[in-house]
């Protein structure tokens, strides 16, 4: 928590950050339509583009530290990252998982409320917070997209509070697996019946407020009950979605 983010330090093996001077960067961007920059006019987007730069982060690298000054924000282009908070004695809670087209960082704020760490290798479109804040203040469409996204995030966070405060281990796991099967599906696609978890067992535990042992036991139980299959460590197959939905609400 004392460490400060330094791109040169935390991404030594990655290609040097590439300034987004080239307007074609955005044109070729996979997530542009879904990201907050999606509705900007052509020249506005070019202007925003000039403020940002592409960076690559490797799995495990931390992009922002909880409590640090909020100096950067970013769009996720590719990869999955976790948002996490911890107690003084090291217990960790994952407070969010972000996917391509999501926005990370704390605009209009002094300090970063939680750490951001890459779960997989990832690509970001990075802005200094000051530059982004100024741009957002003068471009209401951008602010509005950010508002809608933040309202959605808040709804999701509050739904997760119900899970953390009131659901038992079995319900938590079932809810989590169903959530993943939806979140990992592509734009407009239905929920996936087979997917690769971007999280280790320990990270699943940190999302659900459980221990790794409880996560493992519950998943094994569901496998034995033929509700899911676990062909390898990271793959989950939902065999009986109805029953899983049932477990998610009341075990």
């Amino acid at each position: 928590m004392m460490m400060h983010f330094d791109l040169a330090q935390t991404a030594p093996a990655a290609p040097a950050p590439v300034p987004c001077q080239d307007a074609s960067f955005c044109q070729r961007c996979d997530v542009r339509a879904r990201a907050i920059c999606g509705t900007l006019e052509e020249d506005d987007r070019a202007a925003l583009n000039r403020l940002g730069r592409r960076v690559t982060v490797q799995a495990g690298q931390t992009v922002m530290w909880e409590g640090d000054d909020a100096t950067i924000v970013a769009n996720v282009i590719e990869g999955t990252l976790k948002l996490s908070a911890s107690t003084g004695d090291g217990r960790e809670q994952i407070v969010g998982v972000v996917y391509p087209s999501d926005f990370i960082g704390r605009p209009f704020g002094r300090s970063t409320p939680h750490s951001v760490t890459a779960l997989t290798d990832a690509r970001l479109c990075l802005f200094t917070r000051g530059a982004f804040d100024g741009f957002a203040r003068t471009h209401p469409e951008l602010g509005h997209r950010l508002l809608q996204r933040t309202l959605d995030d808040l709804d999701r966070a509050r739904a997760w509070m119900l899970l953390l405060g009131r659901k038992n281990a079995r319900e938590k796991i079932a809810t989590f697996l169903l959530d993943m099967s939806h979140r990992l599906a592509g734009e407009g696609a239905g929920p996936l019946d087979s997917f690769a978890l971007p999280l280790s067992r320990q990270q699943v535990a940190d999302v659900l407020g459980l221990t790794i042992e409880t996560v493992s036991r519950q998943m094994t139980d569901m496998k034995r009950a033929k509700i899911i299959d676990l062909p390898n460590r990271r793959t989950v197959e939902i065999l009986d979605r109805d029953q899983l939905s049932c477990l998610a609400e009341a075990a």
Copy 2:
């Protein structure tokens, strides 16, 4: 959850909603400076004023139901309300507590993600969501204030996720009491050492993901340890703030 909010029905004894036609309503408004309408120009605020109406709700009344269509939003002028979510079998989790100058409702969304219920008698400045959304879209300052407030709410929700997922009962109670002593203090004032809880023991339990018995036991223990005093059911006095802070982090 099937019931629909109807002012005439849920506030029968309250004075009829008063249209805010009179511009002096806002001029006399206690929370204007802190609410999202605080930075609007005089004529914009008058225009917003014409869209809204004042309503009174009594303690215990539910203003919006989880899952209902999102048809209204409001500023809280006076009183305290809870935001709550529940599982199918009736377990409840309070996902937020709102105070004067806070904003409630789900703008730019189809359905209300959680119920809103008055904990004390309250006064609201109420808008239909459609009218508010339209106004916010054409008044970026308002959208920006709403964005900042939503970002703050999201930070708070995520901090609470750490509490729900990773803290034990003693830490939860200590954190809760410290939070209350700050939130109940007036604008700019320091934390209160003595305050009246707006929540019953059951509601405290619903905020913290505990049972009423555990809340009662932990608070009694802290009283015995002379860390707090509980002169009556609703009053809390913090006798040893340092030790309470200590308990909040690691019990």
